[in-house]
């Protein structure tokens, strides 16, 4: 992979990180209302996956979806705007943090019902297959979501019909406040794909270049009619489940261990050992930080929605 491309991946990861840091800060200051589920620590998964996609591909994700939506190419300012409930937000302030849609970049919606979007992902993939567009669909969800019925129904049908869909399970070790072992009798969630006859892999979700490479292969399979893949990407969320969760249930030292494997540090390490200078790395980080700060200020200055706008877009006809 060319160095320029890898630097752009680094930039994207920084943007996601700074974006979430800003959301955290503004939520804590009470400037932004409602729940928020932050993504710091998991950036390599969605950035790696989306870097492997092509224009025309589509994506669905969860309420922890700021990152995946940005990784698909949603603009920073409009994404902030939606989280701030502004008229200029992606969804005019009707969706909020948990419901980000940017159809123009293929981001078909983040969903606040655990597992609900897996069957929907199949539908987008079905349309692509039926029309022969060659597009694939990437569907992000968490480890906890593999215990809900839609996961099983969706994987079964996707495999049966060989739908061009990539099921990306971001295993961050916890579903809400419960560690995996409390809720799930098997340790390797990728194994669940096997009973559906599905190509299933477990990968290091903090190595963005690995994620990208694996997903390119899975996408190629899907595009050529060989069917879906379940990818269990091992990762970790640096924050609690949501704004109100300080994550007291984490064993001592666990966070620190994962911070050493921070996906941004890992990529910077690779780039450094390939001869990229510290200046370049610093420049990318600072540019990303500034882009996020500018987008935040832009969106904060936008007007609130007009009261009458709440009646818009219930019905198409």
């Amino acid at each position: 992979m060319a160095t320029d491309e890898r630097l752009e991946i680094l930039r994207k990861m920084h943007e996601l990180r700074f974006f979430e840091n800003e959301c955290d800060r503004l939520f804590r200051q009470g400037q932004v209302k409602g729940p928020t589920h932050l993504y710091q620590g998991q950036e390599a998964v969605s950035v790696g996956v989306c870097a492997a996609l092509r224009p025309g591909d589509t994506m669905t994700c969860t309420y922890r979806g700021h990152g995946a939506t940005l990784a698909m190419g949603a603009p920073l300012d409009k994404t902030f705007g939606e989280i701030f409930g502004k008229a200029g937000g992606l969804c005019g302030g009707k969706g909020g943090s948990m419901h980000l849609t940017d159809a123009g970049v293929g981001a078909l919606g983040s969903n606040a019902i655990v597992g609900a979007h897996l069957p929907i992902a199949n539908g987008a993939a079905f349309a692509a297959m039926r029309r022969g567009t060659g597009a694939v669909h990437a569907c992000f969800f968490g480890d906890g979501s593999t215990n809900i019925g839609t996961f099983h129904e969706a994987l079964n049908l996707a495999s049966l019909w060989k739908l061009p869909v990539l099921f990306i399970c971001e295993n961050n070790l916890y579903g809400e406040y419960s560690p995996r072992a409390l809720t799930t009798p098997i340790e390797r969630l990728a194994d669940r794909g096997i009973s559906y006859g599905m190509n299933s892999l477990r990968i290091d979700g903090n190595e963005v270049l690995t994620v990208k490479e694996i997903v390119e292969g899975a996408a190629e399979r899907a595009r050529s009619g060989e069917g879906p893949t379940l990818i269990e990407a091992m990762t970790y969320r640096h924050q609690g489940h949501s704004r109100t969760d300080p994550a007291p249930y984490r064993p001592d030292g666990e966070l620190e261990e994962w911070l050493e494997r921070d996906p941004i540090l890992l990529l910077e390490g690779v780039l450094e050992s390939d001869g990229v200078g510290a200046d370049d790395l610093t420049r990318i980080r600072e540019e990303a930080e500034k882009a996020v700060a500018d987008a935040r200020d832009t969106a904060l200055a936008w007007p609130d929605p007009e009261l009458d706008e709440r009646f818009d877009h219930v019905w198409a006809s």
Binding site: H117, N122, G123
Partner: protein, 331 residues
């Protein structure tokens, strides 16, 4: 003009929609090779192929989610849920996903999905396969709800539902599938949201849909022999409800009876009456009456099942009582 059954009308609407638009596809459990549990899809797979008429696993959530996802890409899925009672299994996909998808995206994405559900009492199917469940969805904004009673309405409304940009719940009544009626040789879509005055009358307006429509008409016939003139209106669509047509009927007769197959609580009949009281208060000469299914699950034994929903007898008695109360001078 030809005589067809309700079931044939549904089948023909699906065939014509499949022929007219390559983005339409029809899918559900046992609907392809087997032609459907109620045979409403018989012959469609042979004619249109396995790519457009698809058998699915027993996965109601996966069926409806797939419909939604395909609709986001501009396709026009027609999903069959077999027995309407099974909607409970896929409730989230209907109420939290389909109904809200467009709104949450601020209109970026429309989901023109048609869900076909076979509902209704009468087959000895007992509590989990006999309900009329349209009321489950009344409180969910974003869904159109259609309840055709005749072959012509079944055809025309199904074509309209498939062409509609919004999600439509299309309820077929199991007790009507073999009923016959006239269908034009070149039948056209019927507009969603229009009630139909199916019998003129001047003393009382009865509003009734699907199975209850025929019972209301039977009651009207019997009451005519007693010189009571009954107007019968079929709402046809429950959401959006055609209040203007029904309200105009009430203004003509000044007495209202709503007859519905399902239980009363949180129902379309109760909602309709509440709205009419608010908007047409001065038109009532008597208290509006809601005749509804019993406040029990639907029992199995034939006699018990028969006794459960309103009968023509109950409607006749209710109208007599109502008009007696409304016109004491006549007594």
């Amino acid at each position: 003009m030809a005589e067809v059954t309700y079931k044939e009308a549904v089948n023909r609407a699906l065939a014509d929609a499949l022929a007219a638009d390559p983005d339409v596809f029809v899918f559900g459990e046992d609907i392809g090779a087997a032609g459907g549990v109620f045979k409403t899809t018989a012959g469609l797979q042979e004619r249109f192929g396995r790519d457009r008429v698809l058998d699915t696993p027993i996965s109601e959530q996966a069926i409806l989610g797939l419909a939604l996802g395909a609709a986001t890409q501009g396709m026009r899925p027609v999903a069959e849920l077999m027995f309407a009672d099974f909607a409970g299994v896929a409730f989230d996909q209907i109420v939290n996903q389909l109904a809200k998808y467009r709104y949450m995206s601020n209109g970026q994405i429309s989901v023109p999905v048609t869900i076909r559900l076979a509902q209704g009492i009468g087959g000895g199917f007992a509590a989990q396969h006999s309900q009329s469940v349209e009321n489950w969805f009344l409180n969910v904004v974003g869904l159109k709800i259609v309840v055709p009673a005749t072959p012509a309405d079944a055809y025309g409304l199904l074509r309209a539902a498939i062409a509609d940009e919004d999600p439509v719940l299309f309820f077929e009544h199991k007790g009507l599938l073999n009923d016959k009626g006239q269908l034009e040789d070149d039948p056209q879509p019927v507009e969603i949201g229009r009630a139909a005055v199916v019998r003129q009358g001047s003393d009382v307006t009865i509003v009734a849909s699907q199975l209850m429509r025929a019972r209301a008409l039977e009651a009207a016939e019997r009451l005519a022999a007693e010189s009571i003139s009954v107007e019968v209106i079929d709402p046809v669509t429950l959401v959006p409800m055609d209040i203007a047509t029904i309200g105009a009927g009430l203004e003509r007769t000044n007495n209202l009876v709503v007859v519905q197959e399902s239980s009363a609580g949180g129902s379309w009949g109760a909602t309709l009456i509440a709205r009419l009281i608010g908007e047409y208060f001065d038109s009532f000469d008597s208290p509006p009456l809601l005749l509804a299914g019993d406040e029990t699950p639907i029992p199995f034994a034939h006699q018990l099942e028969q006794a459960w929903p309103p009968s023509a007898d109950r409607i006749v008695d209710a109208v007599r009582g109502l008009l007696g109360a409304a016109a004491p001078a006549a007594g």
